[in-house]
Symmetry: C2
Amino acid sequence: MDPRIREHAAVIANHSVGLQEDDTVVIDAHPVAEDLVVALCEEIGDAGGKPLWTVNRAGKRANRAYLRAAGGEFETPEHELALIEETDVYIAVRAGPNATETSDVDPAVNTAYRTAYRPVMEERLDKRWCLTQFPAPGNAQLAEMSTEAYENFVWDAVNKDWADQRAHQEQLVEILDPADEVRIVSGEETDVTMSIAGNHAINDHGKFNLPGGEVFTAPVPDSVEGTVRFDMPLYHEGREVTDAYLKFEDGEVVAHEAGKNEAVLTEVLETDDGARRLGELGIGMNRDIDEFTYNMLFDEKMGDTVHMAVGRAYDETVGEDNEANDSSTHVDMIVDMSEDSFIEVDGERVQEDGTFVFEESED
Amino acid sequence: MDPRIREHAAVIANHSVGLQEDDTVVIDAHPVAEDLVVALCEEIGDAGGKPLWTVNRAGKRANRAYLRAAGGEFETPEHELALIEETDVYIAVRAGPNATETSDVDPAVNTAYRTAYRPVMEERLDKRWCLTQFPAPGNAQLAEMSTEAYENFVWDAVNKDWADQRAHQEQLVEILDPADEVRIVSGEETDVTMSIAGNHAINDHGKFNLPGGEVFTAPVPDSVEGTVRFDMPLYHEGREVTDAYLKFEDGEVVAHEAGKNEAVLTEVLETDDGARRLGELGIGMNRDIDEFTYNMLFDEKMGDTVHMAVGRAYDETVGEDNEANDSSTHVDMIVDMSEDSFIEVDGERVQEDGTFVFEESED
């Protein structure tokens, strides 16, 4: 077994979910990630926990077969809900031999299934949970990389000194958390300002998402003004949207366009009222993620990028007296900040062309 | 996908477990059986049920890693127990890439784990359940067959007209169920008689075991007299015992020997008092099972064979007023009845050299 797989398992066990004696653990992983499951079972055995390996939604061929046969009627799987209710730790491993395995499932069927499945999803978020990636060939293909190059990419991003990364990111948290206003400028088309007054900046250092590597907060919904050209592509339900452009007035998207698949962007924005307002501002800080791989778990943490999401805000980012943007969707879009770009916080430049003000003084 | 896999899934769904709308279903299967899981998920989708795919004890590498890391202390996995409690149907698929994957787990660890796991096992038996086999290469290797030959073997045995098989077997049930005494004679060393008075003959036609194909009952514990040479090998906890020989007086084994690994047989007989008495008499009637494959799920149903188990009797075979042989073990051993052999019931010959009396009149 590649020794980096055991490192990956140790990061999950010790850093992300903090395994304890007697923990009941569900590992949800496709069989292509079997090596990581084996390494996790060693960690769980060492810790005195109890593993159960499931291959449910992750079992893409089986899931596709089920969804196509079932048609459009679904109820919550009570047995799976009972399992998660009795579980202390939930570890989801993304990996599959074919990233487009469910591409011929009717989107309406998918939506109906997701709705019935939501109580299971929500129960998982009440546990000590972690979402991570195993570098399977199908995922490498989606990233347009060889399997070996993709393995290097994933394990460089995951097997880090997370205490160091946390300390590095904390410098930005200390700037953003007490701040009132953020302005983001990039190239000729992106110049947007928003209030984050009273909201919280969260340090994502690999606990729930592995890799982590961002600092994120919530804009005050009505405060967003200006324009953004998202120059990194967006993958939404299997379709690629390029060069998405949004214009905000009083927090609301009043105009939009895209290079490719503009209709997908329109569909997202028309989901509900909250889908036309920002729910998240995130700043990528994991410099080991240096390539765009069509995988938001990595892309949004890329160094030298900023992402904004239309739709639902994360509860933990919204201050007690502030409004949380509500929506049934949450779609992240990314701006490249490596050139001709800066971030201003309360009128002070905190990043220029991807370099933070506190990095200039680091060696 | 091999069309016989979808037939196999249909037999499980329609005949063995009788899938119903809203059924919650757990499929416990190693990934090498993914095709059968996919086909089962289609059946479950068609029926309006809800599948969950687990790879627990079946996930041999992961299970081995866990057991070796955990050492000897185990508690019942409450989350898995909660899952099974909320489940209507439990389908276990035997299959693995390496039949000896857990051979370097300390037997004491295995035993401790099995003890902690027993509540889960028992809960499964309270469900509509089925145990079946997928013809993976590792299982073919154990059977000393090519994968293709083993596929033919498994699907011939499984994808049968089970209504026909049930009717065929019912002829033997009608002979055995009201009978008092059975005598089994084979070659020069096997001549054993036993009472089955008041006990029930059960028609195993592929509901819980797939393949099925036997009629089985329980001897009255103290009634067994005579000698048996089990000329088919026995595989017990990874060790092969050949030519096991038992001598019974007043139902108890008073002498035993074996060609190879006699100590294993001794160990079995010394488990407890019940392990020295018979708990089952079974007569194999699945003529599509025509080879010994070191897999009791198949071997005990082989046509032209009889098996006897020392140890625990099955509740459903023991009449209300009769004693059920009790033991913590149940070990089946097989006699080849194809030559120089006969079965007598209440003094009448019902089988000679493998041919039943009712088969002579069948065309």
